[in-house]
Symmetry: C2
Subunit: 489 residues, 2 copies
């Protein structure tokens, strides 16, 4: 299948109508969430995938902004024919609260002073970021996310979503991440913060809008950048090659390509990122800890999602052992968990680079969608002894066109539709039994979604009840649910 | 055997009489080398072990300075009963040129300006450090080092010694090191330097003696310190424990123990180390590269030492793969190489901490000394047809008390001593044949040193010729050579 970009896109902004009450106790007023969406939300709003970004990411995850030389930061997996296929899914990505890419952060205007917040901005946590995303999702009208996907700090948000809103996440794909920051991760964050705080231009956080702490932020990024690569990938990329020199300078100018590269990374980061946001976001990562009473199993005990957990073998910043810890805790909670370790020399950055493996593993996971993953668990049911009139009233009340007809023991014995009611009126029937369809086409919750789709197509019907082994109807699946979810090569 | 400290020690200073001509082309005038020694140099000066220090080390490797609360930095392996046993060996350790612990460095007074050098100090290399050590060794009167030992940058010096002065190193023990700095290592050094250079108090290197760039140097040390530990050891040491808090501060004060620890490390480093030295020494490490035309085998082709190479399994800063590269290059050059990977959770720092494994592995290696490792390859020889008078003259000329008597084909047929000459005068013999000892006790070059020592003891003789398989005498070994080298439990 041809892989295509989502094309030109624009960032949108949602102003939260209410204060955002933060984990630390503060209230954030007039907060804005910047976001982008690609693909179409289906009628049942069941095909939404939320993508969460890492430390320095933003809402612009795919496609092109007018005039840009590079596409969104995860364009390799989003678009027609890619694993997050915009022909099937509605993709939404928002900039985190505390960030500097359109969502409210320390660079934003404090409504109480009409000046940038600076360090008056309240400390935010991963859970606060997710809370703001939840409000955005509500606004867009999505009641359940088909999937939540993210790498690094994005993966922390994925896990936090599953804990904060267990009923709202069907599938979760945390990549190259952890359920709690380890001391080495905190240590690297702290030296990055210290680089910024030590820069006199930082001025205790009140440097806007002129003298920005360039040196400090650049250095923080240089430190961070080393941790995103592996020993091996740095060797492959730079070796000991000199930059614009034939031999050592024997002075303190830059000698090696690897040094020039890091300085370039630092300098370009300063142009696109706010130093205070760097402080706030790294602090949020440090605070992140889903264990409860020292147990991750306990911390994840209310989680309901089905998981694909991905790690990278050469990632030493978020080593596979941290992903495996999550796998074990989820498995101990009897959850459905798949685990995949990407083979890559790229280190932590592999989650942004390994297009082939990511697309293969994620599309494999998403194509294994079962009926239970996408069905509406609520079904409008009516007893077999009910009258036509009662059925018509129930349809009106529930705003549905189909009713499952059940026995006293809750067993499905037929389906009655609005069309059947209309027919009954014409034929002057009064009993449901006379007009309902008795040879009901059903699907089991463990059937693959493709199987249900084929049945609907074959029998030319728009919905199928989902029936468990005991013959009880436990949900319903409609063409709306699956129209965009199945693969059409 | 009881392990004992070397007790109280003092640093000594050697002023180089000549300019030190540096690899970069500059001349360093009036340079001083600070050093310490422990144990006694034997008569043959064959029991000297040079210890080389890492980035932040100094000459004070063992024992105690008056009033100190901690012993020298590698006290765990130096002293009576430890692997670098001061009952057997004469240990010498000097502060590197460019350092700030007594040897001439950027903090020293520039004789041309009578002010501290600052950045007028010339760039130095690992090879320059070794060159200065060589001058110290000459001064002490050591013509060959029994062993050179060091970890991290100390290991680089060990390797450099073997390349710069192949005839002067019998045994080499480079630990947790590399034969060339890899880009990740250069990258970490560069962010450390950048932390210092970005500190306005650094003032382009001319900050002496007052406003020192504390923040920058402290940050450089914090970054470095993370790389010396492992993910695992940091977890074991700190976990996610808070420092002096019951719950998160929700501000930018320090929350976690790991943060406090790093800040403490940074602050105490500032009190004992010079920021410019940090720049010079890390630059020397970056420049270190023993490959030649892209080949380490070629770069090490003139090396003659026997090697014990030690790496640490959890060391991600100088990973075992870098040690293995050295093992392969040396093996390709037909050198005698032993390799040992220490099992430790401590990361790079294990080379300073794993007392048990280090003592076991190093003492094992040192006790496997062969006769060829310590013999004097020169032997005073005299033809079997020579007269008593000629023998007496040769003894006088060569300042020896023993002569090997050989055939035309260079085969050993006897030994004649000063005592034999004296006897000949008394007995009025004129032929060597009449007075020499014919049943010569010999040793083979591949015999263990203990074997030769036992023979000397058994036959009550003070020297044994070393004879190869062809019956030719290729060297001599005396009680002086071995008196301090054998284990006496």
């Amino acid at each position: 299948m041809k892989k295509e970009s989502v094309g030109f896109v624009k960032t949108q902004y949602y102003n939260l109508p209410d204060d955002l009450i933060l984990e630390g106790g503060s209230r954030l007023k007039n907060a804005t969430v910047a976001y982008e969406t690609y693909g179409k939300l289906n009628k049942k709003k069941s095909n939404a995938i939320l993508v969460c970004h890492a430390l320095s990411g933003d809402a612009h995850v795919a496609g092109w902004h007018e005039g840009d030389r590079k596409p969104g930061w995860w364009d390799i997996i989003i678009g027609s024919g890619k694993c997050l296929d915009t022909k099937k899914y509605f993709i939404i990505c928002s900039n985190v609260i505390g960030g500097c890419k359109g969502s409210t952060g320390p660079f934003s205007i404090n409504p109480e002073t009409n000046k940038p917040y600076g360090l008056d901005f309240p400390i935010i946590t991963i859970s606060d970021m997710v809370k703001a995303q939840k409000k955005l999702i509500d606004y867009v009208g999505i009641t359940q996310l088909f999937a939540v996907v993210g790498g690094s700090m994005g993966g922390m948000q994925v896990l936090q979503w599953c804990v904060s809103y267990p009923d709202l996440v069907k599938l979760a794909i945390p990549i190259a991440t952890a359920a709690h920051s380890a001391p080495q991760q905190i240590a690297f964050n702290e030296v990055g913060r210290q680089a910024i705080i030590s820069d006199p231009k930082w001025n205790k956080g009140y440097y806007y809008p002129n003298k920005i702490p360039k040196d400090g932020l650049s250095l923080a990024r240089m430190i961070g950048h080393i941790t995103y690569l592996s020993y091996e990938s740095m060797y492959q990329k730079f070796g000991r090659r000199l930059q614009d020199k034939e031999k050592y300078g024997f002075d303190f100018s830059l000698d090696f390509q690897v040094e020039s590269y890091l300085h370039y990374q630092g300098e370009s980061f300063v142009k696109r990122f706010d130093a205070n946001s760097y402080l706030y976001i790294t602090k949020a990562m440090d605070y992140f800890d889903l264990t409860k009473n020292g147990s991750l199993t306990e911390g994840l005990k209310d989680v309901k999602a089905k998981f694909l957990i991905i790690s990278v073998d050469s990632d030493w910043l978020y080593p596979p052992s941290q992903s495996e810890e999550v796998v074990m805790a989820l498995t101990a909670n009897d959850l459905d968990v798949s685990y995949h370790e990407i083979k890559s020399p790229y280190g932590h950055d592999a989650f942004l680079l390994e297009a082939g493996q990511l697309n293969y593993v994620i599309s494999g996971f998403l194509s294994e969608i079962l009926v239970r993953d996408v069905m509406t668990p609520f079904v409008a049911k009516i007893g077999e002894e009910s009258s036509i009139n009662e059925a018509a009233k129930l349809m009106l009340e529930e705003d549905v066109t189909h009713l499952s007809v059940i026995t006293e023991n809750d067993k499905l014995i037929g389906i009655v539709t609005a069309w059947d009611i209309s027919k009954a009126v014409a034929l002057k029937c009064s009993k449901l039994e006379d007009i309902m369809t008795k040879d009901v086409i059903i699907t089991r919750p463990d059937n693959k979604i493709e199987f249900a789709a084929e049945k609907m197509k074959k029998y030319n019907i728009s919905s199928i009840p989902v029936v468990d082994d005991g013959g009880r109807v436990i949900g319903i699946i409609t063409t709306d649910h699956i129209s965009t979810l199945i693969t059409r090569d």
